[in-house]
Symmetry: C2
């Protein structure tokens, strides 16, 4: 046992919490978590040595055993097949340092009656990297857990927002009709859950699909999903689908489409598939041509691929913090970055518009994010600043606050696989960062 | 059958020929080969479609079925786990175009009494990319089989020469003693074939090891080697080692070390392991820090890794032609490139010195390369021009001719998995290129 003080309850609670991004655990109900410094992958010597000792070897089969995922999140390509998202041949765009930087000691209310600091927030949320941009300039950048600035880190469900960005842009261009039924583009899904679902319903995750993302239940769809994506071994003795294209057509409808928000990675995988079908291009190529190369990214990104070479568009993208910062700047600046219009201003406006918060609030497990909505694969808090967010399992964040001219990228590996778990604290931190950069 | 005209004999002959890089087939004995244009991976639509049709899906399990390897050679990272060899944060070094370029029609004797051209040589040898540099300037560059300039291509046994370069440099720096026995650095090998072998014997492949690289024999060590590297599924029912660190200690001695040249990938894997042990760094990091980042490479390279995350240092490196051109220029210029001394001039001199050609000629299967020797993992023809070569299965070449100020990079996927098969023709081509650039 690496953490003798860590009760079994953590595993149970984490599992119960794991409806990806959508459980209703409050921060106050925190289980006893391992001390963050005791989960540092370098200090733990995970995957160190030639070869590493058997108990330090991280494989896909054991990444769900915490803290192995802290190493895996920084090295996913070393665990399985991936396709490069080429940064392009051009010179990287500049991310200049600001004249004045933020301080680790920046204090703010922790939402539980006390105060915390920028440094302590990172520690408490098992942060692998934090980058803060103000007016496109770097005001803060830290890598507290072995991640290097040039190393891509897995985005988990933040990947979804890249799919949403591309689909929204192709809708603006008239290449995709948001009101069309999915089988118009993907006849393979004509007898599946998506037979009578529209593109827009998949974008907003209001489809009704017999599928649950529940890590507590070994029979949950999420394990079949991860096996199809190649991200987890197939459950023993299972007849799990061996690729995403095999898995998605097997899912059946549950309830009515369009009636309720229900967060599920398979909606995004359908959209990722659709993007490839419509454009005739592999997802990695599309992301490179339309976004990465035009941002002037510093590094290639990459996407995990399945047994067909199919991309895990919902959870499998990996990128550096600085390149995500460039992406955030582009979104903040209405699609313009690196001297060019990268996506249409109407695309950004559509993302920021959000969906109906009242409908969102009715969905189970959304209490922690009251007032939010989920639209075109982006989180929208409907605040006065016009904030737009991408989020992912274990604490991945791209937070764009146009009014404060602020972009925050935070990549983490929190033991509780649920972004809602630290949601209240994270909101306090983002608000504090907005106040701080306004005062710079 | 993709090639109804392709006799079964090709498979047999190819298999018989496949002592990696070292068989004695003459070009005159050529089997009937598939027309090169019929093996073009893009024309064949390999891995095209979302998902690709089942008969177009390339996996590690079927890459030995020609022509699947033509796709795999350009996309190895999409088939399994890999570690990035980072290009570094700097600006890429320039590879300027020369004022005068070479012509496709450049003619030369084909070694069989006829003539051929630069274009036809590429076609006849199933070329994926050809880059010719004269005085560091690009005089010719072609990608005839779907490979893009920025895409890394597998180097197969050309990878060995990168290991040799690094070991030679560390010998120059006093960090490795070439006369030390291998177990001084790798105690794990104290009861293996390498128990009483020196570093220099492994560098020159004069160790005696019970191991054969024979694709014709399913029981051959090469299949256990490839399974340990993760590059092939383990033979059915076998108890093959699941990593290189597990496999190498199981190999036993055969004959005397130092008495005869015998080409085998396992010697290189021992050296790759030793490099990591001595430096304490993963091979990909070492290659990045010492070579790739200092060359000012344009793209990241990468190396295939096994089930421990251990690198396949002998055959698993992938890089672009232009970055290999930069490497070649550095070697041509006595270790100096991109405004800095990257390896010591003494390292280059050591590589070019070669071993004893008389001893080399005595080894079985070396007739096609009479006059050559193999030293520190590089091929040395002992010609008047001081030529130095790296070579790999199916036609990978880095040809450095200092007297002609010539560097040639040629990456290919010839159906006969043996670089000796086209050796005579390739030599004619390299000589023709030397004459042509001298006349520019």
């Amino acid at each position: 046992m690496l953490f003798p003080r860590l009760p079994f309850a953590l595993v149970t609670l984490a599992a119960a919490a794991a409806a990806l991004g959508m459980a209703s655990i409050s921060h106050a109900q925190a289980p006893q978590l391992p001390p963050p410094e005791a989960t540092h992958p370098v200090t733990l010597q995970l995957m160190q040595g030639f070869p590493p000792p058997p108990d330090k070897i991280v494989r896909l089969a054991n990444i769900l055993k915490y803290p192995n995922v802290r190493w895996a999140a920084q090295h996913l390509r070393e665990l399985g097949p991936t396709a490069a998202v080429w940064r392009g041949a051009g010179t990287p765009s500049t991310l200049p340092a600001a004249a004045r930087a933020l301080d680790d000691a920046l204090a703010f209310a922790d939402g539980k009656g006390g105060t915390t600091t920028l440094a302590d927030w990172q520690k408490a949320t098992y942060t692998d990297g934090l980058l803060v941009l103000h007016r496109g300039r770097v005001v803060y950048e830290r890598y507290p857990a072995g991640l290097q600035a040039h190393q891509p880190h897995v985005l988990w469900s933040m990947s979804k927002s890249l799919v949403g960005l591309l689909v929204t842009e192709l809708i603006q261009e008239g290449l995709i009709d948001p009101n069309a039924l999915i089988p118009r583009y993907l006849p393979e899904l004509a007898t599946s859950a998506w037979a009578d679902a529209t593109v827009q319903q998949a974008l907003d995750m209001t489809t009704g699909v017999q599928y649950a993302e529940n890590f507590a239940d070994p029979a949950s769809g999420v394990f079949q999903y991860l096996a199809a994506a190649g991200l987890q071994p197939a459950p023993p003795g299972s007849s799990a689908a061996k690729s995403m294209a095999e898995f998605l057509p097997t899912l059946r409808k549950d309830g009515e489409h369009g009636s309720a928000f229900a967060y599920k990675s398979v909606d995004t995988e359908v959209l990722g598939w659709l993007l490839q079908r419509v454009t005739g291009k592999p997802y990695a190529t599309l992301l490179s041509e339309r976004i990465w190369s035009r941002l002037g990214a510093q590094e290639d990104a990459y996407v995990f691929v399945d047994a067909n070479g199919g991309p895990s568009t919902s959870v499998g993208v990996n990128a550096t913090l600085r390149d995500l910062g460039r992406l955030g700047e582009m979104l903040r600046a209405n699609g313009r970055f690196n001297g060019q219009q990268i996506v249409a201003p109407a695309t950004i406006a559509e993302l920021r518009k959000g969906a109906d918060p009242a409908q969102f609030d009715k969905a189970p497990g959304t209490a922690m994010r009251a007032g939010y909505s989920y639209h075109n694969q982006w989180w929208v808090p409907h605040d006065a600043d016009g904030t737009l967010e991408a989020k992912g399992l274990m604490g991945q964040h791209l937070h764009i606050n146009p009014a404060a001219e602020l972009v925050v990228v935070k990549l983490s590996t929190h033991p509780v696989p649920n972004t809602a778990f630290t949601h209240a604290l994270d909101r306090q931190a983002f608000a504090a960062l907005a106040r701080a950069v306004r005062a710079l």
